[in-house]
């Protein structure tokens, strides 16, 4: 499958801006993601006409109206299914799905896991604000257990989803996590997601100023972020902390946080991140890491190679076209058991 590549650098962020007013609340994390994506696409080298944004329903899903590409604002939860059709119909297109935690984890959960399982080459950007924004503040499948929301006045009694666990469970080949307050990290990761062959899921920990303000504060807060995040980079040790003295390692098959320089621990003891490892067990452990015991894993957790659905589909089509004697519908309807009736009336 070939992607039409034009010289990179001929387009810039402003080529992807539209005049339409952006209607997200002031201070919503979505603004930053929009800017990052508009800044990333020119670097993917894809023709502007070959880019399609598909979204579901929710605050995040207004996205296609704010970017100057082809766009489809579809149905609640169905963006991944619609994108699957677009990409399978025309693999030359660069297809992006913009979704939220309600859209992809609740009503669209089924399509979310199946696009990942098929490994269709689509980039899914999941705006995880852990709340239903557009309907004004009900809990979502990613809302932490016990949270008070409009539909959980005594606190939610449901366990919450980690999008990364779902992605891994569905045999995901690419999963990354970013925060809306770190534009550089976002752009780095988005570019890697765009370049990955297969379904890329990028979870953006996004702040909803209105209904779940500061829900990610413990992760993204200026004071704590260095100690509470580990930014994973392929081939580099998993070191984090204000003083870059903490690290992750395996101890008897269990992950643990250690301090370099204590108990004889050196940098060599720290796990080196291998995002491309086909075995996803470490990636799975990484996406599950959470406060207070662990820092939260950021960056590209997994970027493994696998077969891509639409490429295989089109290989099968090309192969069948090459080998079948039946080239047209006329050939088809005249093949097999055909009888001539020549009865005079």
């Amino acid at each position: 499958m070939s992607e039409k590549i034009i010289e990179t650098g001929t387009l810039s962020r402003k080529d992807f801006k539209l005049d339409t007013p952006v209607k997200w609340c002031a201070g919503c994390g979505a603004h930053a993601v929009l800017a990052s994506i508009q800044g990333t696409i020119p670097e993917t080298g894809v023709r502007k006409e070959d880019v399609v944004f598909v979204s579901g329903i929710g605050c995040s899903s207004r996205f296609p109206y704010y970017i100057d590409t082809y766009g489809f604002h579809s149905l609640h939860g169905r963006a991944t299914a619609i994108a699957s059709g677009i990409k399978t119909a025309n693999p030359n297109l660069s297809v992006w799905v913009i979704t939220g935690d309600g859209d992809s984890m609740a009503i669209g959960g089924n399509h979310f896991i199946h696009i990942i399982r098929r490994n269709i080459n689509v980039n899914i950007i999941l705006f995880n604000n852990k709340i239903y924004g557009l309907t004004k503040g009900q809990y979502s499948p990613t809302t932490p257990k016990g949270s008070i929301t409009k539909t959980s006045p005594e606190g939610t009694i449901e366990n919450s989803f980690q999008p990364g666990e779902l992605a891994m469970g569905a045999q995901g080949t690419f999963f990354a996590r970013v925060v809306d307050t770190d534009p550089k990290m976002m752009k780095d990761v988005l570019l890697k997601a765009a370049q990955h062959k297969g379904t890329s899921v990028v979870e953006v920990l996004l702040n909803c100023v209105i209904f779940a303000n500061e829900v990610h504060k413990e992760i993204t807060g200026k004071e704590v972020r260095d100690d509470h995040q580990v930014y994973l980079k392929h081939g580099e040790p998993m070191i984090f902390g204000k003083n870059r003295d903490k690290g992750i390692r395996y101890n008897c098959n269990k992950m643990e946080v250690v301090t370099i320089g204590e108990d004889g621990i050196t940098e060599d003891d720290i796990l080196v991140h291998d995002a491309t490892n086909p075995d996803d067990s470490t990636h799975y452990n990484l996406v599950r890491m959470g406060l207070p015991e662990f820092p939260v894993a950021m960056g590209v957790v997994r970027a493994a190679e696998s077969t891509v659905f639409e490429s295989l589909m089109h290989d099968q089509v090309t192969n069948a076209q090459k080998h079948s004697k039946i080239k047209t519908v006329n050939d088809l309807i005249n093949s097999g058991n055909v009888f001539r009736i020549d009865q005079k009336s």
Binding site: L75, I82, G85, M313, N337, F339
Partner: protein, 615 residues
Amino acid sequence: MGKNPKVIHVEDIVVKFAGDSGDGMQLTGSQFSDTSAFIGNDLSTFPDYPAEIRAPQGTIAGVSGFQVHIGEKEITTPGDQADVLVAMNPAALKANMKWIKNGATIIIDIDHFDNKHYKKAGYVEDPLHDGSMEGYNVVKAPITMLTRDTAKPFGLDQKTADRTRNQFVAGLLYWLFNRDIKLGEDFLSNKFKSKPDLVKANIAVLHAGYNYAETIEALSTTFMVDPVKNKKGLFRNITGNQATAWGLLAAAERADKSLFLGSYPITPATEILQEISSRKHLGAVAFQAEDEIAGISSAIGASFAGRLSATTTSGPGLALKGEAIGLAVITELPLVIVDVQRGGPSTGLPTKTEQSDLMQALYGRSGESPVVVLAASTPANCFDYAFEASKIALEHMTPVILLTDGYLANGSELWNIPSTDNLPKIKPPLVEDNDDTYQPYKRDPEKLNRFWAIPGQEGLRHRVGGLEKEDVTGNVSHDALNHQVMVNLRQQKVDKVVDFIPELQVIGDSEGELLVIGWGGTYGGLVSAVNDMRKEGYGISLAHFNYINPLPKNTAEVLSGFKKKIVCEINMGQFAFYLRSKFQKHEFQQFNKVQGLPFFISELKEKFREILDAK
């Protein structure tokens, strides 16, 4: 050797094959049909699958049947009742006794008519000796025993040997219908191409059945059905599902598009998905989705990306697709939705036929959500209406629902193979790259469709979606008056299709006492009943609808030619209700049946006579 049987020439005859689902009756049925088509008989077939995949052997629930109606006259239905029944066990006999004619020939495998099998079938008395078989010509053939004897030298294990029993039956039927046994041999050589041993054994058993028939006294007369009159050309036997799949493929070809099918397996529509899945050599892609919703959603995505797109389903699936159909309505994208109707509500009767999704097709969505609705009326014309549905969808930029049903889908008939070169070209309203007059919701003045700008095209970037669109620009609009305008436009666009569809044809005189009205899959039964009664001198005609929304232009005119009108449907009166809402001056009587079965010609005639004789 042999005898000189009396040969009876018949205009038409109905044969039913029935046995356990493992007895190969479907194969024998198709073999008999193919042979009939080969010698030029017209035909119609209908398989009767058990609801269970492998119900306990020998029980009524496990009976699988296949009915074939062949004739030298035009055949439009598989026939009300059988003239010849093959019953491989007591359950098959019991299940079919009420579907056979008085005096019918019943061929049974006597080796399975014992107390053990009677019990399984739920017989209290031995049916062969309790008088219930009086008036029938019962042929008690030791099919199992003779098959085993014949197959023995070929070294087959008993299970495999027993599977060839259906060829004993086939051989018997070749003799009974004066067919050249060579045709049966050819069928088997072709069927088991890769297994020469199996071919030999099957052919031996075929001959055994033939020879047995020749020698026994019970079969003293044979049947002769001449080639059909008034038919000429190339034909093949085709089922409704196969014809639907091929119609979609033909439409894609005539539109210079490749077909995308997004579907989820569901009885009785699955064969369409299977057929398209094996047509990659024609550029078709079948996307087997994770559910019904993803099936249609992927198809909508593919349509946005510029393909001829379709989704296939049955009633429960159509319900799940309702929301997405609404999206296709508001985004005004071409899409074909095939609903192979079955008995409902809910899971209902998955393997049985019904016409009860009409209201759902017309109205089963949120908001004012008009779509074009078509209905095929014979297995073969599923091809024509799948083509027509695609043509309307593509040229008018609208979702089109095509209704077929379980009876059409699994039934088959002879199809006069067309040349696709004679099918009309399909011309979707495409846009040139960089056309600076393009606006997403600018319309064609005649058809009122918007234009189809496809991702990848230069200078036509735009956004569509489920929020209300502003007229012309396609921007999101919550404006009150704009909504009114858009609702009107979407309705008018569908209404305008009326100018592009044929007028309603009346079968019979255009004026008279009684107009029989039908739609979709009931055509065969209705046309037979009406034609029979016209021969008897009744003032009766048939108006059969393939175009449901919009209705043909001349519908009111047709209705006005008749004193009485009766709407016949396999539901509780949905089309009658629809017609009443459209033509309030007219009175419509109803004839309805919901038993998972098609109409019988006899019950239709009885009803029509009741009305006409009542004067």
